[in-house]
Assembly symmetry: C3
Amino acid sequence: MIITLLTDFGLSDPYAGVMKGVILGICPEARLVDISHDITPQNIEMAAFILEKSVPYFPTDTIHCVVVDPGVGTSRKVLIARVKGHLFVAPDNGVLKRIINTAQAHEVFHADRAEFFLKKISATFHGRDIFAPLAAHLANGVKPEQIGEPLDQYVRGEIREPELQKGRITGEIIYFDRFGNAVTNISRTMLKGLGNIRIDIRHHTIQGLVSAYSQVKPGEPLAIIGSFENLEIAVREGSAREQIPLKYGDKITVLF
Amino acid sequence: MIITLLTDFGLSDPYAGVMKGVILGICPEARLVDISHDITPQNIEMAAFILEKSVPYFPTDTIHCVVVDPGVGTSRKVLIARVKGHLFVAPDNGVLKRIINTAQAHEVFHADRAEFFLKKISATFHGRDIFAPLAAHLANGVKPEQIGEPLDQYVRGEIREPELQKGRITGEIIYFDRFGNAVTNISRTMLKGLGNIRIDIRHHTIQGLVSAYSQVKPGEPLAIIGSFENLEIAVREGSAREQIPLKYGDKITVLF
Amino acid sequence: MIITLLTDFGLSDPYAGVMKGVILGICPEARLVDISHDITPQNIEMAAFILEKSVPYFPTDTIHCVVVDPGVGTSRKVLIARVKGHLFVAPDNGVLKRIINTAQAHEVFHADRAEFFLKKISATFHGRDIFAPLAAHLANGVKPEQIGEPLDQYVRGEIREPELQKGRITGEIIYFDRFGNAVTNISRTMLKGLGNIRIDIRHHTIQGLVSAYSQVKPGEPLAIIGSFENLEIAVREGSAREQIPLKYGDKITVLF
């Protein structure tokens, strides 16, 4: 059984490693995969996006343990969700909103049976004390129904979608990757069948999409449908983030 | 069999990956878990602390391979220790001192039988050539007794404990995590039953402990028993390290 | 079956994690080992060097998935190579040149049968869509011969070897590790039997090799045969890269 980890703990501290120790103590056969531990601390939006884009590449029955948890130590609930054949363990803070919103069906449970947690619960590290043990018990075959009651009221959060106007889509930058590529919230689907498009971002105008970085000269900006299936702004052999430059939330306009 | 790795090698270089190749070549079934590879280079104190705080969350019989080894290439010994049902492979430089000092019983061996090392030993990378193969052979069921003789003389090192005076405990900051939380060497046990306390750190005074970050306003400093079971200084939704600011070794006083 | 990953994707983005999801979906028993994900973006030379130096420490039959791929989205080929009992999946851009050049025998295949790729191929992330599935199918026992035809014409690239003159070897710095140690392209073999040597680098002269860092005083530069079996310049308890200082491509002269 695969358990993925998606947290804002980083890899320098022993936090992720200790979660793995807890999991393997409960479910020795678990296969552990790190999706990322470098979510910007407490950035629920970023974690929700990365989760949505990563889950489809894992096999059915994977258990995803998501710990971006600014409310640790408060009375925020712990959720288990069953969506598209995958299981999710996460705090009730909206981090699952994209997974849930894009699904036809989903079941959400309030995971509150303490016999599935570690015996001692710290004030600051529920990743170790609650989320890791829950994921491990699920991997052992415990059903969400055994861990808590179905829940109707949970944080659904909003997803900021691009604005559609006549001849124009206005989106924004929601993620930068290591290469400095700027990922927008404009999906491939939204651009389908639009014909010739022009993209305005900061003081730059980009004509049309390319299908490979190599279609522009080194150092030039380009627009491409990236691997997240969203419109991305990149600079060939460079960083769009640094060279244009761009930042989180920057507006991008597609004219057609 | 689980083998954990705790090193100062970082993850950019292939050093940790190559250790895993060596381990899986000797013990193909080993389950590998990274505790951290980001110990500050050659910082034995930090590694000793992280090891002490991580080990209790791994199941009995786990093998911990610790490579923070400024004396690589010299005649410093290689140790195998059996403590609390776990096995440890580490250089003889004090990195095991906290694990050994907090245990009722421990056995230490001088691992010097070269048939359990790689054939060729480099001058600079005993993690690959000695420590990884030893951990793998232990995972295969080889006993420490087969790898070397029991050892009485090894580097025990000192552990700097807080000073206790009338109405006052003086400790220091021994670790910062990714969030900028400052971990002190004052344990939960030392604070037990003290009643109202006041904490002085740099120019700040903090009244009492909180049980969740959310009990103070964003941007405010707080004191909490963190997940290491030690007193920590944090700033809600911020970094105590940068905002107070604090550094390694800073004194902290608890008045009661 | 072990599959290693060597990429320039970093660990902050979900790219490496998603590749692992794809692999485990195809070959659930695969053992995954990260060699490094911190190759400098698109630095084929660095990846070729790290691969050459890491592979010998993995058991025979390991599958190495190498994704440093500036030509992603173009018509550059995808290669599978069988060298020294290991299998390699990589873009045809020279990243395998050192592995292939140091081998007596090698077989290279043009991996173009799309039934072994994901169904949908993005323009920018063939690591996920092509290289990961190929590695997983190989781990499942599919033969390279089933995935593509043998190939004679592929990018062989050059390897910059040191210059040998009377009484002098001139090499260069080709890698820095996390500790700031400078690895040169001068191998142990080239220095064999030279007797007394003197090493000139920038404004420094180093007399002879040491066999342990501790043979010089803290803060002093030294020359040593490092764990890559190449001549390295280091500073004891310091960083040669920052303190001398040194950079990629700096010339180093060995006089004998």
